[in-house]
């Protein structure tokens, strides 16, 4: 008689479903996951893997890890990255060497796909957790990631 068995099983599973949601309802006060955004702005911490914008970290000597290899520019599916580079003579070896002038990043076009970060051989760029990206003038969305006067960190190229 699977007919009555089905009815019994149906009722049992329905009740166990309601038990689960009922538990959530009773404990709702303690476990609320909603963030009350503008109020908690000072303490709000975005979660680990959030992708807000591409940034280039600099250390205290204003040095970054970008060699100007253009791997990120090639990897970007929608042309959000433009690398302006040049060559100069290295004093030690006397050879001509590529260096980065401007790492231009168009936040307005970026889809936060993370491909540029994966492509970078020297981990020079990463995703920041900032999410308040709205501005009144869209030119503010085109950013130069390397800070003025910054240079390549020693030992990155080896």
């Amino acid at each position: 008689m699977s007919y009555f068995g089905d009815i019994g099983k149906g009722i049992k599973t329905l009740l166990s479903g309601m038990k689960v949601t009922g538990k959530y309802f009773l404990n709702a006060r303690k476990e609320i996951i909603t963030q009350q955004y503008p109020e908690n702005r000072d303490t709000l911490e975005m979660f680990e893997r959030f992708r807000g914008e591409v940034v280039m970290p600099h250390d205290e000597n204003n040095e970054h890890r970008c060699t100007g290899c253009q791997a990120c520019e090639i990897a970007c599916p929608n042309g959000s990255i433009e690398i302006v580079w040049d060559r100069k003579v290295d004093e030690e070896t006397g050879k001509k060497k590529k260096y980065i002038v401007n790492h231009i990043y168009h936040l307005s076009m970026c889809t936060m796909c993370n491909l540029c970060i994966v492509a970078c051989p020297t981990d020079a760029i990463k995703m920041a957790k900032k999410f308040e990206n709205a501005v009144f003038d869209r030119t503010a969305l085109t950013k130069v990631l390397n800070k003025p006067g910054s240079k390549l960190m020693d030992g990155v190229e080896e």
Partner: protein
């Protein structure tokens, strides 16, 4: 104690003393109509807010919390927004039926509400076929949904309306039969008699197991009648846009939306009246002291308390169960609920015949 009969009769007498008989009657009707419209609007506002808050707690959210303390004015703001919205219609719609449909739904809901007893003496129309009247009116509401879906000239709306038709035809049976099980116990279709005959035990205790089965079937089929999740195939946002009210906006949409919530109230009220004694306090036959203590709580609180509990139960269903597929919906009704219901009626009839009920 807490009898409204005197108050209502007093108002009636006073109206007759200052106005000619016909005018007094008309004024009386208008007052009753205004009271019901007021209740309708308040129910809509309160239930929508309750639904959103309860849904939020089930999902560990906060729910509306910006307008007023704990967001209690959220639905008032929503209502004002809906009133101010531009009514957008479709070009090819059958405009007469399209405009008529929301009124069908809302008038059916109001008519069924008119026969509900809210407390002793607080009863607009104690018709002798009260239960039957509510069933008849609830099928009239479907007409509005079918008309709206058909007249919108939109395939999603039509699909939603057709599903609604299939669903109503099926589940009306279950609601009717489970109500019939209780009518066997009460021996009357008049609402006031049904409530009065529960003064020793509520029917759910009186009828033993068949009453419990009837209640379960009633609450399942009632949820289906009001087109709420898990039976909301008529709207099915993920499949049909918004189902039968896809093409409605502004106030006409608000009518559909409101009447869904008021229908939920009506189903919950019917459940409370038929199974939990309506406004009758919890009485246990023979325990006079206990019964007397219970009588101190006004019947209107008993009624709305029971209704709120049933409404909460229906909301709990909504935020627990996923939507049924149309074939599952029909299987549930025709293969499970209906045979169970018929067997249950026989059992109940036997119990009543042998006098085994309490």
């Amino acid at each position: 104690m807490y009898d409204f009969t005197g108050l209502i009769q007093g108002i009636n007498k006073w109206l007759h003393s200052i106005l000619p008989a016909v005018a007094a009657d008309v004024v009386g009707w208008i007052l009753i109509a205004a009271a019901f419209l007021g209740l309708f609007a308040i129910l809509g506002l309160v239930l929508v807010l309750a639904e959103r808050k309860i849904a939020a707690f089930f999902q560990l959210r906060l729910g509306p919390n910006r307008i007023g303390p704990w967001g209690i004015f959220q639905t008032v703001a929503d209502a004002i927004k809906l009133l101010l919205k531009e009514p957008v219609g479709t070009n090819r719609a059958d405009s007469f039926l399209y405009n008529l449909a929301p009124y069908f739904v809302i008038i059916a809901a109001l008519m069924s509400m008119s026969v509900l007893p809210f407390a002793k003496g607080l009863h607009a129309y104690d018709i002798d076929i009260g239960v039957f009247f509510v069933i008849a009116m609830s099928s009239l509401g479907v007409m509005g949904i079918l008309l709206g879906g058909w007249a919108s000239n939109n395939k999603y709306a039509l699909l939603g309306a057709m599903r609604s038709g299939a669903q109503m035809i099926s589940y009306e049976l279950s609601v009717g039969l489970s109500i019939l099980t209780i009518v066997l116990l009460s021996g009357s279709l008049r609402m006031s008699d049904i409530v009065a005959s529960q003064s020793d035990y509520w029917f759910i205790f009186k009828g033993h197991i068949p009453a419990w089965i009837a209640f379960m079937i009633f609450i399942i089929a009632g949820t289906a009648e009001t087109n709420r999740t898990p039976f909301d195939l008529t709207e099915a946002e993920s499949e049909l846009g918004a189902g039968f009210h896809t093409e409605y906006s502004g106030l006409k949409f608000a009518f559909f939306f409101l009447s869904e919530f008021v229908n939920m109230f009506i189903i919950a009220a019917m459940g409370a009246i038929l199974f939990f004694g309506g406004w009758m306090p919890l009485h246990i036959g023979g325990w006079d002291g206990f019964n007397h203590v219970m009588d101190f709580i006004p019947p209107i609180f008993w009624f709305f308390g029971k209704v709120s509990f049933l409404i909460f139960l229906i909301m709990w269903f909504r935020w627990t169960f996923p939507r049924l597929r149309i074939d599952q919906l029909l299987t549930l009704e025709w293969k499970y609920l209906l045979p169970m219901n018929l067997a249950n009626i026989l059992l109940m009839a036997f119990i009543v015949l042998m006098g085994w009920h309490l």
